[in-house]
Symmetry: C4
Subunit: 230 residues, 4 copies
């Protein structure tokens, strides 16, 4: 495929608009500095065409981002449409979409507190009811992996497959979050940083109290059944 | 009751406008992320009608909130008016109004530093003159309780009844604050996070000096007699 | 005196405008929450009239403050002009003006990091060249004192008299800063919080390196001779 | 030389506009308070004229800065054009341009976390992939030096010559960053503060995991070859 199929044009343009607007949430919630961080969304294929993804181009300032600048790639990470190069993290996003069919959105940031846990390679324990609601348990750590092959994507998928948490802390690197769509993945990125910060601060002066597993299960099951309503 | 009595219409609409505007104070003072947090206000019944409460609907972004979207419930937490579901914390607010007749406003947040103390189940000691003024002593901790029955509401009331502090740290969860009206409860939420942060930071490098009980009493009594003027 | 002398009208109105505008610097630099904090400026007497001071009224939100709302008091702290009560900290400001003739501006905040040092009753050591420039040494601690008599004002004056620092940390309370005018005192309040934060953070992971006294003297003398130019 | 050569006028004015606009990034990313901090850019000489530099004047508020107020100096730090005095840090900037011909931009701030490391005289270890990308290893510390001779400039050059890092932490003082132009130096200042904060926070609760040297080399080499695209 070298162009966006006409049957997918409308869906691709709508996803570009959503993803462009959602990027504004990253600096707003102080999850990124300069041009770091990126949001992507899957566009499901129709008429036998394979799925595509839309993502931020590389090196563009948040203030300058428009829907027209969002680029389109296939699930190998190859550029299909766009005047600029896709984000250098595109291969990791593409790998997730290719291997986790239920995922519709992916977000990557270097948000400060989540990255601080990631630098120690330490999972965030579930000591807040808000973590039970959204993450259903601790936030897991993924392996050390650097750009150059598919090792980041493989590390994300291996860590999140079969885990309740929509967030993974890639060691020495930073968090990736997933969701049913880009907005859900952005929400997970925002709440992840908040719980990473709160648990960090709590631990600075002692040990946070654990939440019993059955209470975590109860919080998670209730919250997921009223998703989008809190 | 299934609708707002006409004799209470004007008061309900005024409360909706106040509560909608006060929600803007929560992100402004960085007490909430995403759609978390909620403010409510009691509307006192007239002509034999029982009291009502107005509160934020569930899952609405702060930017999108308007007075028309604020919902009305009775003091059992049942929806009386509004197109969206009430906040999932409505039962806790309603329980407080039903059992603490002098309370006119309730605020719930997951503000970072207050929640960090709550995660350790540790009260905040009174080591700032500003705490003496507004809280009259330490900020107490309430029990661990999860959504599903009235245990959160009971925990708030049991902790705050007979206590000077208008704020309680619900264990592993976050703070609730009360006031004579919604604005007073919002003020208490803002000042709570400030003292939670300041005392945390002070304790990181040593032990804050205690304030003698008679000085706390003096600060509290003076401040409460010039309420609204500082 | 019960009114502003006509010979001082123009100077008083100019001071009101300056002080009203300078209050916006307090939330901008995150030195205050809600309605806390206040800025005042001395208006020197002419034609045999005694000096006056202008200050923020009590309990007014920062967004709502206008030059017309700034109140005028004599150096006993008695209200001379204004529809609202003067800030409850007016007596402390007035005492400083009455006893330190070279002081033209006073600022009081509860800025977080400065107040955290104040809660431990611990001076901030001079370990930053920026502290040498602006403060000429460590930031001293003043005594514990509560509102009700002139003990806060006396504590400020006793600590700052003969000291290079334009800032004092009142124990368990918060900082007061002074300057040749209100703008200088606001600048000192902003820089104080910045050095309180930086030295706190530095000390969290070890011991900051001391600066030799002769280097501190050299920084201070150079900076004060090019005042207003940095 | 006492005036800007006409052959350099256009280049000087373009640099003034760029540098004026880039100053807005400093408060935006919370790297400075009040009037602290400065950005400069080299203007390369033509027709046998020596290089010049443009820099912020001393003591001007960020809100008030315009391209017309940016001043021009030669590489001895002598004022060539401008109504105000150049920043008191101009001698340090000029020394860097005079001794590091490949440097086109210099930034100085007192950003909080970077300055906290500088106050301890401790380099920031390379424990984040983002540090490998941008800095290629740890952030080094430069000597203690105070304004008055060329010791600050010499310290910066001696530390950064032959080092991958475009950032140096001047002991007890704060960071200087360099780049091929002013924008690159500002980017380095922003990323420096972010890594200084993240590594600080990570170390508060344990030891961040080191990144193997070959992985750092790989990150650095890839990133520098796709400069401006991330």
């Amino acid at each position: 495929m070298t162009t966006v199929p006409s049957a997918m044009r409308e869906a691709v343009d709508a996803a570009k608009a959503r993803v462009s607007a959602l990027h504004a949430e990253l600096p707003r919630w102080e999850l990124v500095v300069w041009t770091a961080g990126n949001v992507s969304e899957r566009v499901r294929g129709v008429d036998g065409h394979p799925d595509l993804l839309v993502i931020k181009p590389s090196g563009v300032a948040y203030d300058d981002l428009t829907p027209e600048e969002i680029v389109v790639c296939d699930l190998d990470g190859t550029l299909i449409e766009g005047e600029r190069s896709p984000s250098s993290d595109t291969a990791a996003h593409a790998y997730v979409y290719a291997h986790m069919p239920h995922v519709g959105g992916v977000v990557h940031t270097h948000s400060t507190y989540a990255t601080a846990w990631a630098a120690r390679g330490e999972e965030i324990p579930c000591v807040l009811t808000m973590m039970g609601d959204e993450f259903g348990g601790p936030i897991p750590v993924g392996p050390f992996a650097i750009i150059g092959d598919d090792s980041i994507g493989r590390g994300i998928v291996a860590t999140l497959e079969g885990h309740r948490s929509p967030a993974v802390l890639m060691q020495n690197h930073g968090p990736f979050t997933i969701g049913k769509d880009a907005k859900s993945a952005v929400k997970a990125a925002v709440l992840l940083e908040e719980v990473a910060r709160t648990v960090h601060i709590s631990r600075q002066l002692g040990d946070p109290l654990p939440i019993p597993q059955d209470a975590i299960d109860s919080l998670y099951n209730r919250y997921q059944n009223v998703y989008g309503q809190h």
